[in-house]
Symmetry: C2
């Protein structure tokens, strides 16, 4: 079963290069907000906002450790997003293949003219 609101949040989260960068960085291991912000030159407040969006989508999990907030990947919803794209892409691929084959067989079609 597809959870539309999960897909909404996951795709919206991925629609920003900074947030995609955070996910890539966390693929190397957990990091604090400060460690995520430092290489980007972004303020802690700005970085916190991006992390919050990823957290709301379930793509990132955060935990207070002493005075810092540790962030790590929570990848499960990404499966759902990929499954959605993959499923429809295969479906469309088959239909487009079928259309190609059909057009190639039509007299005067693009397939025969070219």
């Amino acid at each position: 079963m597809v959870h539309q609101h999960v897909l909404d949040r996951v795709f919206a989260s991925l629609a920003d290069p900074t947030r995609r960068g955070i996910l890539i960085r966390l693929g190397d291991g957990p990091a604090t907000i400060g460690e995520l912000a430092e290489p980007t030159g972004m303020s802690l407040t700005g970085m916190k906002k991006h992390v919050r969006v990823l957290e709301d989508a379930g793509l990132v999990v955060t935990e207070k450790v002493g005075r810092t907030r540790q962030c790590r990947l929570g990848v499960a919803p990404l499966d759902e997003a990929m499954a959605w794209i993959s499923f429809h892409q295969r479906l469309w691929g088959r239909r487009l293949d079928g259309l190609d084959a059909y057009l190639t067989l039509q007299p005067g079609s693009k397939g025969q003219d070219s």
Copy 2:
């Protein structure tokens, strides 16, 4: 090479259930704005806005045919979006597998305690 602005637009386009619905519908074949709007109960103006977002992302191609605008799938950028998710997911998967194996081997780890 990953085109960040393409990924931004594709993911933002997919972050809405109406727009995902349009892509699914167009998987069955081309449709006019009116045909897309009708089953949703949405106004033509509202549907046009969604189609424009998909068009800007390259996910939909439209063409003026007589007095109507015909819409069809333009699937290429979806490959890029899936490639991005797929690549990082595999990368993270391997790292998480490695972490699991590592934790299982640690004395007193969750892997051994459970």
